[in-house]
């Protein structure tokens, strides 16, 4: 029994972190948030060189053949540096969708393109986690029509994987009949779009779309939880550092019991989340009967703890936390967006209750 990261896993995460530490500095993120897409491109290329995007692609298709835990560790590092990246959608959810629902030809074709860097696939499954605004897609032959709301990973996407609730399908971003509306969210570190499709040509994945989509959502939620974990880790570290540095009443504010206890409370709530995220990620590959439940527990719990850390850390930073000067709000907003994407905590907890026959 070994509950923790292997040396390889630690090294993988460290190498991504080290890379992002210099490649995704605050000033880069700020530039991206203000409309310069080059950070997303740079990170994509940089991470591609590290082989990072290929963790979940099976070795036979040119990938690394690693698991969801490795993907979560990578996403945690992204959250730590609020890095723009379609990793969760393009290299985790879309890969799993293909692995689960693609036939051999489709896998060969698409996983190969992903590994080669010629296909970057954004993902829109919101309709499967609670549909508003009459969104929803209908497939007719090899054409698809309707609306897909909150499609993630639009930074660099060349394609989108969407759901008709029965089937998983892929469209090219530049296809006929695609009308794209950019959504502005609080989180300027990631791009979300709404797609209106009219007889858009699509590839319908051959396998069981419903099952595949469920696995994609399970994993997507684990990765959003991991992203919040990384972002919250950084917010606590920033709080502690700031509290040692900032003086009021001739003492560092970190020597005030109120500030100390705020930091201790953040740690006490967040630290167990680390093990929960690890396990939820691990369960996706290794404990199939717990995968769906643990994904929901991790997603909803990190939504709550993340919100607490985001708020408390901002308070520890006082007025400076409220300004744009330190950029702390990028972390605050990233955590805020993660809370709602792929289902808010109440929705996700109700699903967890259903899974256990409680509802």
């Amino acid at each position: 029994m070994y509950f923790g990261l292997s040396q390889d896993q630690t090294m993988l995460q460290d190498s991504v972190q080290r890379y992002l530490e210099s490649a995704s500095e605050l000033e880069h993120v700020r530039g991206f948030a203000e409309g310069d897409n080059s950070l997303a491109e740079n990170l994509h290329n940089g991470l591609m060189e590290l082989g990072v995007p290929l963790v979940l692609v099976p070795e036979e298709f040119g990938g690394l053949g690693l698991g969801v835990l490795e993907a979560a560790l990578i996403q945690q590092a992204m959250g730590r540096f609020v890095s723009p990246s379609g990793f969760t959608s393009a290299y985790a959810m879309a890969v799993i969708g293909l692995r689960e629902a693609g036939d051999d030809d489709q896998k060969n074709d698409w996983l190969g393109r992903i590994a080669g860097g010629s296909a970057i696939i954004g993902v829109g499954l919101t309709e499967a986690t609670g549909a508003r605004e009459g969104a929803g897609l209908t497939v007719s032959g090899d054409k698809v029509s309707g609306r897909a709301s909150f499609v993630m990973g639009a930074e660099l996407a060349t394609h989108f994987m969407l759901t008709s609730s029965k089937e998983l399908l892929i469209i090219a971003r530049d296809s006929a009949g695609v009308s794209e509306t950019a959504l502005t969210t609080i989180d300027k570190t990631r791009h979300v779009v709404m797609l209106d499709l009219q007889d858009t040509p699509c590839t319908v994945l051959a396998g069981d779309g419903v099952a595949a989509q469920a696995r994609m959502i399970d994993m997507g939620r684990v990765l959003l939880a991991a992203d919040s974990l990384g972002a919250a880790d950084m917010m606590i570290e920033k709080s502690v550092a700031y509290s040692k540095d900032r003086e009021q009443f001739n003492r560092p504010i970190g020597s005030f019991q109120a500030v100390k206890h705020m930091c201790a409370d953040m740690v006490a709530k967040l630290e167990p989340c680390r093990s929960l995220v690890w396990y939820a990620a691990y369960a996706q590959d290794h404990v199939s009967d717990e995968a769906a439940l643990m994904s929901r527990l991790a997603k909803s719990h990190l939504a709550e703890v993340g919100k607490y850390v985001a708020r408390t850390s901002t308070e520890v930073h006082g007025g400076m936390g409220f300004t744009d000067l330190l950029g702390l709000h990028y972390w605050f907003k990233r955590i805020g967006a993660n809370r709602q994407l792929l289902g808010g905590p109440e929705t996700v907890r109700e699903e967890a209750a259903k899974l256990q026959g409680w509802s």
Binding site: T184, E315, G318, G319, F322, D324, Q340, E346
Partner: protein
Amino acid sequence: MDLNFTAEYEDFRADVRAFLDKHKADAPVMANVGLRSEKRLKWQRILLEHGYAARTLPKQYGGFGAEPDSLKQRIIAEEFARAKVPGGIAGQGINMLVPTLLELGTEEQKEKYIAKTLSGEMIWCQGYSEPGAGSDLASLRTAAVVDGDDFVINGQKIWTSTANQADMIFCLVRTEPDAPKHQGISYLLFSMDTPGIEVRPLMTMTGRAEFNEVFFTDVRVPTSQIVGQRGEGWMVANATLTHERGMLGDPDAALSRLNSIAEIMQNEHVDGKSLMDNPVYRDRLVALEAEVYAMKFNGMRLTTASSEKKSAGLAGMIVKLQGCELNHRLAELAIDVMGEYGILFEDSPFLRDHGLWQTHYMFDLGLIIGGGSAQIQKNIISERGLGMPREPKAAKA
């Protein structure tokens, strides 16, 4: 306990309503209107004339000269809120500088500044906080050194709202660097056009620049521009804090926020079901409703205490702490019920309610932090309100 108003007050309410019916058309819309817009200045003139602005201030300085009466103030606030008409100008000049000058200014200062401030022609900003002096305001370091007939000012202020539009600033500076920190401060008035002043907008997490930073480089201000004596600035600044605000603002603001959330919940649907049909959200809504009413009634209790010229004690001391927290949590619920739509922002398509819930959520957090952080509020409640012992002074290291 009597929630009815006596005939005198009902008559007064009728007067206010009649006034509003007649003049409403002259009022600017609630949304932001330029501080110097003619519409706004005209509306202020009308309000001053009828006693709905500067109501209790002396006539000789441009006020209306009425007796203080917090019930009438509340009626004014209620009726203006009901008519969705903005009240009088409520900038820091009117709220903070004018009462200070009335109490501690020279006759010349009163004549020179008060009437113009009340009319809205002269706009002030407040130069108190500094990057290194927030909760510990008295540690401020902006220096003013006497050179001939002038103070020469160097340093920096922060959190200065409307600095980019203000004519004048009332500013705390350190004139006695060797005195104990509370005794080395002076309170100066000077023009924002004085050479050497640079204003930089301060962007916050809401994505807007609600505040500014103000930098002073060899700014020369005549020594006559001081209120009170040298070294008395801390006392002068604090004298203002004991003054009550003229207008209490919309007494039911939190309640209307609550009602807006209830409306969203009734109108938005997920998978075809109204959000109000979600019992978990509904339970949170009702729990917040109880808090909203508790704060509303607490406010009514304060109004009564004020009209009786009594201190409301703890009931007054907790308002900022609890009120900001409650507003923050109302916004939190609104965002949660909207789900993914709750994170839309700024000018996004499909935005709900102009995105104001996210703005509230963040700005209210700013309010929890600013103007006496929650931690400082709790120190005040426990030490001044409950008489708990202060922290012992730290030994010199």
